[in-house]
Symmetry: D3
């Protein structure tokens, strides 16, 4: 990547090419190959072979990009940002993932992410099922050391194995804990709810270093309070945000593999995220969008919008 | 039913048979014929000939069972329960209901429920349209005497007749009142909203003995307060819970026959239910799931999850 | 229109003709040609050629009418009204709009609305995309002078032009401001959210005379507070309400052209509206229902129910 | 009905009011009350309480009317007809049918049809489930005596009873045979296929006087040959055509209650019908459209188009 | 399995329990555990980890069983059979397949099928993706020796590897050929169409011993001729039929993972199958039904009906 | 464009990047900017403002590209071609079309197409509604002179004006005839069916120089015969093929704006096209895919596959 002598290449303008047309990159941003430097790369990870229930998240990256056409992105009033003019965001395309070998796919993802992180500080991945968090955290760790991990999800994703498999979409954060990929003094789950596989799930999760904000606590706390608790937990440690779209209620995100009722509304999630302004986000993933179960693109649109919130948060964390 | 010499037969384990496969019973529980004793029976009532608008709830029982595959059921942290290890729950299959004769179907349901209640204390029915509440309350009354009736619904369901028919999904609780099937000092509707057929609807309803918590009151009260009011109303009278899925907002439950906007979120409903811990529930029904109008199973999943909440509540009420 | 010597013609009764059958007018009300006088006309405006993203609102009027069959309309407890007995509401059918000429369509709409307003005081239009607000406000202005304009929407709709076109669904309120069609001391937007095309959007909007209640403010204010602020802004000026269905969250209104997550729930919107009781509403539009993206009619049902709320509000404003 | 002194009232023109707007009558034809005389009435029969599997045909009449908006109807080249200029066709609205009493509904249908047939020679009914054929044939018999009955369907619909009920959508033609409503020397089924409830079904059907053209025979015969065999069977007896949309393959008509694969394509059915030119059709029904299972209106469009073919056939049979 | 002293246990009768209710086994047949002997077992194989494009066939077995409720099965006029009275058919439930290990799943399937084939002569499997044909053919070979293999599919499924994986849904018949699991003098593909990965695909396929009837040949040959060619190829060798639902056109079977236009109609396929009467079928699979892409159950219904045709064919081959 | 010194750049290989991932160009072909020369350009035209009924074809180009991921494209056995190795095909992206001005959009399309045709001999456009045929034929005429026009469609598209508009999706071929853009001695419509707006439609169409093969003629002729008649009509004149997806039956192509039943199957259309081998095709368009009405991508897949057939035909016509 060459020197930063030019302003960022912005997305194709919606006043020239209608938003429903033109490039299929996220927000119609330039492809990575078309920019001389890059601050944030959007990386598609079309992989769902770690799914335990409804598969289809392999189509997630394309669906999120397609839904991102909806976004008016020039100026975000909640952050007072013009992100695509402030720094260079680009679409790095998809990682080729072997659908028939979880192990090989994990290597491919780790390798692709590590390569990108040599030149680019921040990576936002669009999945794909939650299995992909392991190789992403590995690559992140190589670049940034142990990160604070804040994980939005209906589920803990810290089981040990599933059908004997150590790497599935229900186990990434136990693997990550075992490998020391995140800083267990500054990490937490947000949005957890519903019944569990075992009464020991919560206890074991705590032993891995996680704090939990249960979804029901939202009833009393409100988004601002939740954000404050996250900020307190994270402190000034570099932060990795892992967001499973099923943290949203199925009414807001039907298009996912393991929906769980009684979840967050999209407004709650967006407002929690906005409360994280100032945290130094160095990476994020947005996973588990399964378009075959979506309708009217509402799940993909939620994911695409959340990714845009993340881009603004990343920008704010750098200033 | 024989003696209780063995621990309960649990559902098929999701670590052996993936949740999307295996038996089609509710939560993949044993069939009633496969257990030596039973504490709670899940009874399908595939009947929708009492429907005034969109039919299709005849497919509700199958849809709820199919959606119950999603559930991780071993441990419920909100109740600290392991219900399927604590007592025997089993699937009693479907009642054969004549689709062409409301009268005969009512007899079939009453007879089937009464037979079950000879051996089994608690019945949770999955419908089916709301017409089925009448024969269920009759069977319940035979076993338990007049019960407290708490009814979650967008509608009162206490009209007199509809097109001259005394038994429809809009009239069950007037019939039940006339027959003295519930204790009118301890009964109430929750979630009522929307315009009415007549200005007298509310007054007549009150004369039948019902109190009402209107959906709009949720704005100020919050789920905990609502639960407290229900607990106060019910006291220690044995409780029958009748839940029409349309108490939920159409965003959370599109798959129903007479949706009404401005309803409860699934999180509100679940939290109200959790606030009922300690009440002695002796029966319940979950009605009006019409799968042809559902998408991505979100309505059926809501119903299946609520049934699981009920099972945990029943267990708590027994301890 | 002749003298008011007879009581209003009411809708076809749901106790004679099942609600799913009979006339396809809004709420199965009489057609305008069938009533001797009329207080409120429901006017369909099947036009979507001003749409910038997902088209299809041309099918909105039919969808809203079809969904209005769901409504039980005799008595509205929130207002203690029996609107269809209190004054004459009738369906004025559809305006023939040229789909290939925005200019001609605008003329057709203005002409049709003006003609109706010669005899009828209040018009509730069902769209159609938001372009139609301009000709409607012109007709309204001719009859009532500058009205207070309260606009519920995710978007400001005060851009200047779009692809060089002055009249699109993103520009109506700038045109209306330029023409002085509303009273800029008493007008506001409610529900605005999401990123913008430009950092100047909000400033320019303010220069046109609008106040804004952003959607996020709902988190703290609650519907009652929002309603109070609207009432304060409007005062006793005759009010025109323009409601874009996308003010609702996509979970509640997927069937629209430019959905934006993190929106209002239908319960919030309904409760804000109820808080406007007493304002003198002289006109309203309900726009941007795009049925091809709806499912289970939930968007159209929301629109139909909101229109019914409006009818009750209009009645209350007259008493 | 008054004298025929004026040309027929034609449908609303698609060059003035776009086809997706305007009246919701079949083909946007005038309502019956708006014409001084009428040759063919289109009658909606929103009834599905005789359905044995997937209900929802109660919404069929509205769906067929809505889909009829698609039709360009001025000139039909296959018949060289301009039907709406040649004779008066009008929409007679819906029969109010009691959804809770099959018996009462049958009386309502018979009464409504008989009343219409006092003034109007030909009735085309849009259903509704197949139960409605019995009261329609009664009314037809009263006016025209025993008619030839040609029945397009995947199923024979000549069972005796179903769940003890004599009147269901599986039994109408046995009832009609018992009552002598059709001429058993000139009647037949077309399109029958699939397995049967009993090996005696075909034999008993034959005893009722029916000949059968099985769907598989289409493979060799082709539409023209089938049409010839029908014409030979019917001769010059006044003909009643009863068309169950499930005679079409589910690929062409998914929106129905009891689909059966390996059926007719819409082109085959349309071409068979065109081969019936010259037969004197005095009545017809188009039943079993269940919109909740349709998509993109393809089933309702097939039904609406077939009804238009029938109107042209009726016209040809009169000349 | 005990002696055959009793007549077969038949499915639950549709005259007692409506077809939309009751057990969820295929055709509501008894479970295998409930019959003293069994001639044909229906085995669900919920596995789709070998899918190269749209996943979801793991939900195929449940969907096919659910759709089989539609079937009237007592008597099949095309074969003059009453299969469920003539021999014992039972539902053997689902094989527990590891979704995270193709190798382990293949072992599980082979083991389950082999165990069944010790007691039961004929197995009809419902998938699941086409990967499952390998273990099924292994089990079949162990019982019956090399079978004639007739394979209905849009695709050859004889690639070597895919992403390095030897066992995927695109490679089963090359593996089967390498292992000598079928008799290459009597095997063929039917329905092949569309472009190929390589010009050598057809040549390599021929070297494995397959003959091919391309889908386009249907235009001239007709189903009877195709059936004759299959019969000639198979002769009197025991036959295994492997049917990928994508042999049907997407109009008839949208719910599948790799649809290919220009395919067979369901009537063509059914008629080809009926032409195979007399062949000795010892096993079959019906694969690649992916319900998330289905609508109105038309794909699952096609699959369920084809399985019923197979059962009748098996019966005919035994007589 | 530079010299042809290198072999064509092929699509991204499906053995490296799974087909459901990677670039969103048609068939994952290179973008035009990435190739040194180009033989056939695929051009997206996201425009639907000329639509008279269901809009949404503006999303057609993206949907066709997305569905083209399904295609295995290396070798086409019907033509014995390896097109992407034989000549350079590339995706030229989308034309920016003004959605609010038909006139400006037509200029934009004509200009974009003309620019491409300066360097590239053959253009295949993916629409978009049929309005776009006029500017495409203008550009084609400029490069190739009057072309033979073969038009596959359910409708003639030779009306004069629609709502006063000369350029709509119902009028392109009258405009083209008036401008002499095609050779009226060698042009024809194929697949025409259904009723017409006027009895003069066919006569006026003939006066413009068209021959017609009606859809019903397919019943007797078969695809080969139709292809022969087209070849005879076209002769050796350079050919432009304009294909409206609604030439297919709605069962095969539900996702379109003006569906018409009784149409072609996809197999018939594909086989007609294959019969055109040898004709010199210099341009083509594939229009009227409206994804909002599609399901399981079957319409978009049909369009994508037909475009691939066209690419092979173009190659054959050059050899």
């Amino acid at each position: 990547m060459s020197e930063r002598k030019t302003p960022p290449v912005e997305p194709v303008s919606g006043t020239i090419m209608p938003r429903y047309a033109g490039p299929s990159t996220y927000c119609r941003l330039p492809e990575l190959r078309d920019v001389p430097y890059c601050d944030v790369a959007i990386l598609g990870i079309p992989f769902d072979s770690g799914t335990s229930y409804r598969p289809g998240a392999r189509f997630g990256p394309q669906a999120i990009r397609q839904a991102s056409r909806h976004l008016r992105y020039n100026f975000h009033p909640a952050y007072s940002t013009e992100p695509y003019r402030a720094f260079q965001v680009a679409d790095a395309g998809d990682v080729p993932c072997n659908p028939f070998s979880i192990d090989e796919a994990i290597e491919q993802i780790e390798s692709a992410a590590s390569n990108l992180l040599e030149d680019i500080e921040t990576l936002v991945s669009i999945g794909g099922d939650h299995t992909i968090a392991v190789p992403l955290l590995r690559a992140m760790h190589r670049r940034h050391g142990p990160v604070a991990l804040v994980h939005f999800d209906a589920h803990l994703d810290t089981w040990d194995t599933y059908f004997g498999a150590p790497y599935t979409h229900g186990t990434p954060f136990r693997r990550a804990a075992e490998e020391g990929l995140f800083d267990d003094q500054h990490s937490m789950h947000v949005g957890i709810r519903g019944p569990l596989y075992s009464s020991e799930d919560l206890q074991q999760d705590e032993e891995l270093g996680f704090k939990v904000i249960h979804c029901d606590e939202l009833n009393e706390m409100g988004p601002d309070h939740v954000a404050r608790r996250i900020r307190e937990r994270v402190g000034d440690v570099p932060l990795y945000l892992s967001i499973d779209i099923d943290v949203l209620d199925p009414a807001h995100a039907p298009g996912t593999g393991t929906p769980e009722i009684a979840g967050l509304s999209s407004r709650e999630l967006v407002n929690i995220l906005r409360g994280l302004k100032g945290l130094k986000i160095v990476g994020a993933d947005m996973v588990e969008v399964a378009p075959a179960y979506d309708h009217a693109e509402i799940t993909a649109l939620a994911a695409a919008t959340i990714v845009f919130e993340l881009i603004n948060l990343i920008l704010c964390g750098r200033r």
